[in-house]
Amino acid sequence: MIEIKKVSKTIQGTQVLCDIEASLPSGRVTGFSGINGSGKTMLMRVLAGLIRPSSGEVLISGKALWKDISFPESIGFLIEGPAFIGSYTGLENLMMIASIKKKAGMAQVRQAIERVGLDPDDKRRYRKYSLGMKQRLGIALAVMEAPDIVLLDEPTNALDADGVALLEGIVREERARGAAVVLSCHDHEVLERLSDSIYYLQAGRVVRKAEGGAGDAAKEA
């Protein structure tokens, strides 16, 4: 459960987030929608602990980010596109990052790569990947350790129709697993289908909150 309480952020004199209030429960998909520069990515960075709010606070399971904990204790994220080492294969990249926490072993990492439709035994280096493959690997990284929080910023970027379908399946599985999934997406139809609730951002402020269609889809399923 993530609680965002009156979070504001000013960078170099520009206010990029303003009094954001939101509740992001576990086992639900929370969407953020807005045009470029509305603050979606910045909010994702705040939730990941990468940037510090100028005011307000973020509570992760009751613990205040930047006070009680430096980063969310169990989080996977894809923010600003994937970032990997070009000379390693996809599997090597994920194994290297997994070696820090040692929560996911080889089997989990391979499974995560397969979940996004990539081949874990692909010997191509990351720099040879297409944009869509890079994006898929970024999604695999976000979910490979089965984290409590999954942040996906524009996950449909560069994905083809099959990739979007795979992504939708993964988001639903993560939701069913009990993760708090946070999604920002330009494709409003995808966001509407996947989210339980959607916050609309404009110039760093929440201007509207609406229910999404994920609950209905889950009932139908």
Binding site: I11, G37, L50, A83, I85, I100
Partner: protein
């Protein structure tokens, strides 16, 4: 534990993967040794039979000779110590980009996974230490190879004529510790220089921090003062060779202070910094 895991990552990705840079440094030191041999040949042309094969000590002093104190005089042109400046700009460049790029790239996943900004910072400080150590190891290997080819002696004694070959000016020899103070001060001051640059690279970005390093080294060559670190990186200004030269104790204190300030300030900065490329969002 997270510190060691991040450090292992850094040694693999920030050292082993950069082997080409170390190869370039080896090539550079080959040129540096050639310049030293050329200086010896020029000296022999003037004073025939006065110089024998170099010792290892001669080669070390030659590779890091720098320039004698510059005394401003319109009739005394500033003899820019290009080779010396390049040597330390290479060391500084070796440790310039990796930490910043890492933090904005795959490193942000490591920081979050390790749950520790401080661990990331200390790992980068140790990475600088390892990189500078390897820099000097490469230098030592090249000098030893050159010595083998030249038939010189593997001793740290400096030949009496070497300061003359390197145009140190009024040089004296005979410090009880030989060149050991120089051997300790060179890596220590280089680590201080690179750690200061590392801290600045996070505050003002890598390129401006590199320009600070260039300025510091350039000013050091122009002004002989105990407050400019570069002075301690020049054999030609060391008390080992020059009466009233830069002292080991002062150099060690300055380098130590810079290391402590850089590590502590860097730790404080990293703990509150936003991990973001600011230009990308404003």
């Amino acid at each position: 534990m997270s510190l060691y895991r991040i450090l292992a990552f850094d040694l693999r990705n920030g050292v082993a993967r950069h082997w080409r840079r170390y190869a370039a440094i080896a090539a550079f030191f080959c040129l540096s040794v050639l310049a030293l041999f050329a200086a010896r040949k020029a000296y022999l042309d003037v004073y025939p039979s006065s110089v024998g094969p170099f010792t290892l000590g001669d080669c070390v002093v030659g590779a890091f000779s720098g320039m004698k104190e510059y005394v401003f005089d319109p009739r005394n042109p500033f003899d820019f110590p290009a080779l010396w400046l390049l040597t330390f700009l290479l060391a500084a460049y070796l440790t310039l980009h990796y930490p910043y790029r890492d933090l904005l790239g795959v490193g942000r996943h490591l920081v979050v996974a390790a749950q520790s900004r401080v661990g990331w910072w200390y790992a980068k400080c140790l990475w600088v230490l390892a990189s500078v150590g390897l820099f000097y190891a490469v230098c030592g290997a090249v000098l030893c190879l050159a010595l083998l080819l030249d038939g010189g002696a593997f001793t740290l004694d400096v030949s009496p004529r070497t300061p003359g070959v390197l145009a140190f000016g009024h040089a004296v020899l005979g410090q009880p510790g030989g060149i050991w103070p120089l051997l300790v001060l060179l890596p220590l001051a280089t680590v201080a220089l690179c750690l200061l640059q590392l801290f600045l690279s996070l505050v003002i970005k890598p390129l401006p921090s590199y320009l600070c390093t260039v300025s510091l080294l350039f000013l050091s060559s122009y002004f002989k003062t105990p407050f400019l670190l570069g002075n301690y990186l020049m054999a030609a200004r060391s008390e080992v060779f020059i009466t009233g030269g830069m002292g080991f104790a002062a150099g060690a204190v300055l380098a130590g202070a810079l290391i402590i300030v850089s590590v502590v300030a860097g730790r404080a900065w990293v703990q509150q910094m936003d991990i973001i490329e600011k230009e990308s969002i404003l």
